[in-house]
């Protein structure tokens, strides 16, 4: 049994089409993001968040009414999966812990015939929120930088650049996808929190892994097929690694799909984001990272080897 054995598809010849595809998805995503940003989780925003479980079903509107009446106007209240699990959130932190206590007491007095248990309380101060934001940002920027330097050292600078641009592309597409799906499927309730951050980190790791493996084959094939032009060599390499790419991405995607479906509320944001990331990561390794390398090599070639036929020899 072999999947996609001995294929000879011209991936890179069609790269212009895929540039357009990528760009339009990103632009669409950015528009959606602009119109309806992914809500920042309490981790980054600061505030108080409670998750409560009622014994009987409860109407979110009713809770909102009670909260509006009791010093918490405009509080964010939503269900978590079932209409018994309710998430309440306010940007208020309060000195000490008065905010969550007040919310609990309002719930207690308002819904006397519907008992509830407090599943989770998070309170994050504004300093922690901003610290977390900067730390996360630095962590991502520095790891991209680290990848850039290592790959430049192991391959060539243009490969490293292609890989990092592909990573940016993946993050942008995934953010767009998250925004888009969040808009289309209101039940998904995605938000940018630490778990989603972990998903982005994982997808960066996964995507760069994929890219490196294709690059490795290109590096090998360039030595083997010295007389072929770069486009052919790269197409050969992508085709040669295609079955590996499909199997690996497929199995990891399968794992994530299982987590998404059965992993519970906490893992949902993670598995959704990473799932999207696997698809775009696999796609970008070929259509972004490798395409950029091809285009760059062609440009360099045009500039310095004028007169000779275009796309002649590799390197």
């Amino acid at each position: 049994m072999r999947i996609l054995h001995n294929t000879n598809l011209d991936f890179l010849g069609k790269r212009k089409i895929f540039y357009i595809v990528s760009l339009s998805v990103i632009i669409l995503g950015m528009i959606v993001l602009y119109l309806k940003p992914i809500p920042l989780g309490i981790d980054f925003l600061g505030g108080t968040e409670l998750q409560v479980k009622f014994t009987n079903q409860i109407d979110v509107g009713e809770i909102r009414n009670e909260m509006d009446k009791n010093d918490f106007p405009g509080m964010e209240i939503k269900t978590m999966g079932t209409s018994k699990d309710i998430l309440l959130r306010t940007p208020l932190q309060g000195e000490g812990q008065t905010v969550s206590d007040k919310i609990i007491s309002v719930l207690k007095t308002s819904f006397t015939n519907n008992n509830f248990s407090v599943e989770r309380i998070d309170k994050v101060g504004p300093k922690i929120g901003s610290e977390l934001r900067t730390k996360a940002l630095f962590a991502v920027i520095f790891s991209l930088l680290g990848i850039l330097i290592y790959l430049a050292f192991r391959f060539q600078f243009i490969y490293a650049l292609g890989a990092v641009i592909a990573l940016f592309h993946d993050v942008l597409i995934t953010v767009s996808a998250v925004a888009l799906f969040d808009l289309m499927i209101p039940n998904l309730k995605l938000e940018l929190n630490q778990t989603m951050l972990a998903a982005f980190l994982t997808l960066i790791g996964f995507s760069v892994n994929d890219t490196v493996i294709i690059f490795d084959r290109i590096r090998e094939n360039i030595k083997l097929f010295k007389n072929e032009n770069i486009l052919t060599v790269m197409n050969k390499s992508v085709n040669a690694t295609l079955s590996r790419t499909i199997i690996t991405s497929g199995t990891v995607f399968l794992t994530i799909l299982v987590l998404f479906l059965f992993g519970g509320e906490v893992l949902r944001g993670f598995s959704f984001t990473f799932g999207v990331g696997i698809i775009t990561g696999t796609y970008s390794s070929v259509f972004v990272a490798s395409s950029i390398v091809v285009d760059w090599k062609n440009r360099v070639h045009d500039k310095f080897v004028k007169g000779k036929p275009k796309l002649s020899t590799a390197k």
Partner: protein, 670 residues
């Protein structure tokens, strides 16, 4: 074969190590499962027999993060600004204005507060001297002193939080000081935010509590003993009780000469105190001859004690244990009044006994048992002291204005002097006057730091506590007395509490679905790569085993992002095998013999494997370095996983193929 032998041995050793480190986790799970089905007396029995093993297993097992286990996570910030305001020698609008600005500023910067303060003062043409210095001090000294005081205040805060957390009795509390003024507290399994907040944030409660009359206290203990003796058959006690000889008794006696007296020069009673103290010492050494005694200075009121003691001497250990189960755990020694000496290991048992409803019913409502803050060494064993105190405090620490530990030049021994506010001094005079020769315990947050004897009526509010073993002990007492009003208040800046049900739910769902996914992937590998796939699956299992083993060895905490890291790692492990197998297939297509194909396959896949793994290592290290809590958890598992994966993919699977080839097995790669 030689080359393979080394690899086999190495792999075998690693697998053994992994099992060695994972075993405590399994053991803890198993012991707790057994414990949970037992109840009441049986569970005491169980704890007695397996206590040490339980404790050890719990210490060595893989810890679960709060997101998986439920519990509370609190970040406390020491309010240095408030402290600066409190200790300023002069307070005016300019200073409070500056401190207000500072408060805003420290929300966004981590620069040293003092540097900021200095620059702000300088901008207004002022110096630290205006608010914090004496006349003759130069600026450098003031700055250093101020910094020292801040450090000291933070140290106290950390110490107080630690005591409170320990005292709260949570299993495996984690306490960590991060940055220069932040404390992270993790309390697994705790789901009472209210109580924890009060516990952590409230100022430390320092109380002076009078000791119950020893004779009375002893009677209560006897009653406890009687109740326990009624069902001794069910309590098995470990044989830890050996009679303690006179030498030790003297040691204890010495310890108990802690006394409190007035330092007011005008107070004539001081000389009397000395005499009194000397007399007291003589007294105790005189009675110190009796062995294993339950006697007290106050012999008259303790007649039945001696009878107990007599009968004790004639009893065998077995009988003793049956008749005096409580006194076998809580030993009374002379000079100690009704202080119970409990061996370190026995403390949980005694705590358990004291919490029993039938025992609680015996203890009078105005009385409570309190533990000493530290242990004392007797015959190489560590003992906690159990004090019977009046529940209501005579006085709280609010009245203390200052405390200082010094060496008394006359006796050359450490003393702590404390001064009280005028209001406190009046109360203190009344209390001390009415309770001369009785003992008054200094209790901070329910822990007894010292229980000196009141030697005289103290009128001026200036008291001196003596009898500490060394200057460190005195210093600690000084801190405790001052901490009564925690110098720098603590503010909760982040708090997360996760209900245990949510934690359990998420771990169960996460684990079962991960396991399910893993099985699916494993099945796919066998279907697609046939025999090769089964080797890959073996590698996958070894991989999980090693990652978990390494995590257990590092005592790392498993969190949800950690599981995410594990999933990425396993994805990479599958990928590595796929890479190798695809290469082997390519070579097989060109018709080379199997052995050569495997060799070439491994060789050609190597550079891709190395590059992808090193990129992951770089990312992992950077994320670990710059990330905070959850990101670090992710990075750590990723790092461990990547390194382990390199080993399993390159070494283990390769030699398995080698061995099988040598044996002439037919291998298929689908």
């Amino acid at each position: 074969m030689k080359k393979n032998l080394a690899r086999i041995v190495l792999t075998g050793v690693f697998i053994l190590f992994a099992f060695y480190f994972i075993y405590p986790t399994y053991r803890d799970y198993q012991l707790n499962k057994e414990l949970s089905v037992k109840s009441g007396q049986d569970s005491i029995d169980y704890i007695t027999t397996y206590g040490d093993k339980l404790k050890k297993a719990r210490e060595d097992r893989i810890k679960l993060g709060l997101d998986l286990k439920g519990g509370m996570y609190v970040v406390l910030d020491v309010d240095v600004i408030k402290f600066l305001e409190d200790i300023a020698k002069k307070k005016d609008d300019i200073l409070s204005g500056i401190l207000g600005e500072l408060k805003e500023q420290t929300k966004t910067t981590d620069l040293p507060v003092i540097d900021l303060l200095v620059s702000k003062l300088n901008a207004k043409g002022l110096t630290l001297k205006s608010y914090y210095g004496g006349d003759r001090d130069d600026l450098k000294t003031i700055e250093k002193k101020l910094n020292d005081e801040i450090d000291n205040a933070i140290d106290i805060a950390v110490r107080v939080v630690r005591t409170r957390v320990d005292q709260y009795g949570v299993a495996e509390p984690q306490l960590q000081k991060i940055g220069n003024k932040r404390i992270i507290v993790e309390l697994p399994g705790v789901n009472n935010p209210d109580e924890v907040r009060k516990l952590l944030q409230g100022t430390a409660l320092l109380q002076f509590q009078l000791m119950k009359d020893p004779a009375f206290s002893y009677k209560v203990m006897q009653s406890i003993n009687k109740v326990l003796a009624g069902d001794t058959s069910q309590i098995s006690m470990t044989d830890s009780s050996k009679s303690i000889n006179t030498k030790d008794t003297t040691k204890i006696t010495k310890k108990d000469t802690t006394s409190i007296k007035s330092t007011d020069k005008k107070d004539k009673s001081k000389t009397d105190d000395k005499k009194d103290l000397a007399k007291n010492k003589k007294d105790t050494t005189k009675t110190g001859k009796t062995k294993d005694s339950l006697k007290n200075k106050d012999t008259a009121s303790l007649k039945d004690t001696s009878s107990v003691q007599d009968s004790l001497a004639n009893m065998s250990d077995e009988e003793k244990r049956k008749k005096f189960p409580f006194f076998m755990l809580v030993k009374l020694y002379e000079g100690g009044g009704a202080d119970g000496y409990v061996e370190e290991n026995d403390r949980p048992k005694v705590e358990f006994i004291l919490k029993r409803p039938d025992i609680k019913a015996i203890i009078p409502s105005d009385m409570g048992y309190f533990w000493s803050q530290k242990t004392i060494d007797i015959e190489g064993k560590k003992y906690y002291i159990l004090y019977g105190l009046k529940k209501d405090a005579e006085l709280t620490g609010k009245v203390i204005e200052d405390a200082k530990s010094t060496i008394d030049p006359q006796s050359n021994s450490p003393v702590v002097s404390m001064s009280m506010s005028s209001e406190g001094a009046r109360e203190w005079a009344r209390i001390t006057g009415a309770n001369i020769n009785k003992r008054c315990a200094i209790v901070l947050d329910g822990i007894v730091y010292s229980a000196p004897v009141i030697k005289s009526k103290i009128t001026g509010g200036n008291s001196q506590i003596e009898g500490m073993a060394n200057i460190q002990e005195a210093k600690l007492l000084e801190i405790v007395l001052k901490a009564g009003a925690l110098p720098a208040p603590l503010k909760i800046i982040e708090e997360r509490s996760i209900g245990p049900s949510l934690g359990e739910d998420s771990i169960n769902k996460g684990l079962t679905s991960s396991l399910g996914a893993l099985i699916l992937v494993a099945l796919f590998m066998v279907w697609y790569y046939k025999f090769g796939g089964s080797i890959a699956d073996t590698a996958l299992i070894i991989n999980v085993l090693f990652v978990v083993g390494v995590m257990a060895a590092f005592k790392a905490t498993l969190t949800l992002p950690g599981i995410a890291g594990l999933i990425l790692t396993l994805g990479m492990a599958v990928d590595t095998n796929v890479l190798i197998f695809e290469r082997i297939r390519e070579e097989l297509d060109s018709g080379k013999p199997l052995k050569t194909c495997i060799e070439i396959g491994y060789k050609k896949a190597f550079s891709a494997i190395i590059d992808s793994h090193i990129t992951s290592v770089i990312t992992g290290i950077i994320l670990y370095q710059f990330g905070s809590g959850p990101i670090q958890g992710f990075a750590l598992t990723l790092l461990i996983g990547v390194v382990v994966n390199l080993f399993t993919a390159i070494v283990i699977t390769h030699f398995i193929f080698d061995i099988l080839l040598e044996k002439g097995k037919k291998l298929s790669f689908g």
